[in-house]
Symmetry: C2
Subunit: 198 residues, 2 copies
DNA sequence: CCTACCGATCGGTAGG
DNA sequence: CCTACCGATCGGTAGG
């Protein structure tokens, strides 16, 4: 299915509603009303309600994956062995990925439970892969002494928990720009994983 | 309404289902089936589906509030001016409050959107009050030099994000005991907010 | 706690 | 994109 402009409009409106009320509490009529069309008319553009959720979640997941790849590229230019720089880069691109589309990020992070079994499994595996990437970086940094020793798996969930919480409060017209938030996030995470000033 | 044993049983089963599938995606028949009774029979014990959600959320919120009070008492015994000790105590009681009933904590943290407007407002105000408490502690610690200088409001959301993520992965029969998780959480948070070893 | 039932709303289809 | 419609399921009530 091609991504027509109208189709994208539907997904954006749905992201907002799913984020605000949750997928199950949002009816296809709610989505249609926000677009000023009839509920049944939505099916001229989408095959099912779950397909809309999937499109949002899949696109958000892809954005996070691209962010991680971009962070790798950025850090590799600086120096491959610098774990602090690599973590700093990953945190910043992660925050940017959230801020780029908060609604979609929030839906991705909070509504994957509403996917059918197959898609749910796919998205969980992609989340796991992303998490493994961060965990490996943290574990490697501990092994080289860049980070203080602690449980890498637990530290990873703390880091992602702190970062993903941003999707719960960030607003485009808020006090802080995405870059400023990324500054704070990078400072927080690096400080949490290092023992003292370098 | 008094809290009969059966009523509590209903709430526990509902916590599990709401946590796994979300409030809106869980029908009263789902809850009844888990208790081996008919859907309509549930109404011999509860007035509405939302009342069940409210009971779970209200109890969990009360538990977090009690945890904060306990942390205050514990830290006051040590010494009132020690912000690191106060933060350490608050983190530990917060983690304990999550582990005490993960399902209810998860519902409290993730399903308050499903409450009606009035109850939603009440629970948001109680969450805000809890958050203010932590933010004030962090801001005071920055003013006295115990914590590194950064934005207290943002730091607070990072701390709560990291801690509340525990509700997403903690299991009673997991690798780590609540106390060990609390150790890691306290180490992570204190390290994030301090500049180096004391 | 059960059986029998209710109106409302759900996601989705047919046919234009 | 609309009107008209469908079967299924929803939360909840009546009466025992």
């Amino acid at each position: 299915m091609v991504e027509t402009p109208r189709r994208r409009e539907i997904e954006d409106v749905a992201s907002d509603l799913f984020r605000e009320h949750g997928y199950a509490a949002t009816s296809v009529r709610d989505i249609a009303r926000a677009l000023d069309i009839q509920g049944a008319s939505l099916y001229a553009h989408v095959a099912s309600k779950e397909d809309v959720l999937w499109a949002i979640v899949d696109r958000a997941a892809t954005r996070f994956e691209a962010a991680a790849a971009a962070a790798d590229a950025r850090a590799a230019a600086d120096g491959p062995g610098d774990h602090v720089a690599r973590l700093d880069a990953l945190v910043r691109t992660h925050v940017a990925a959230i801020a780029e589309d908060v609604d979609a990020a929030g839906v991705f992070l909070g509504e994957w439970r509403s996917l059918g079994p197959d898609r749910r499994a796919v998205i969980l595996e992609r989340r796991d892969a992303y998490e493994r990437r961060l965990r490996d970086l943290i574990a490697d940094g501990m092994a080289t002494g860049a980070f203080r020793m602690t449980d890498p798996a637990v530290a990873t969930t703390f880091v992602l928990g702190a970062l993903n919480a941003i999707a719960g409060w960030y607003h485009q017209d808020g006090r802080l720009s995405p870059d400023r938030i990324a500054d704070h996030a990078a400072g927080f995470v690096v400080s949490a994983l290092t023992d003292g000033p370098t």
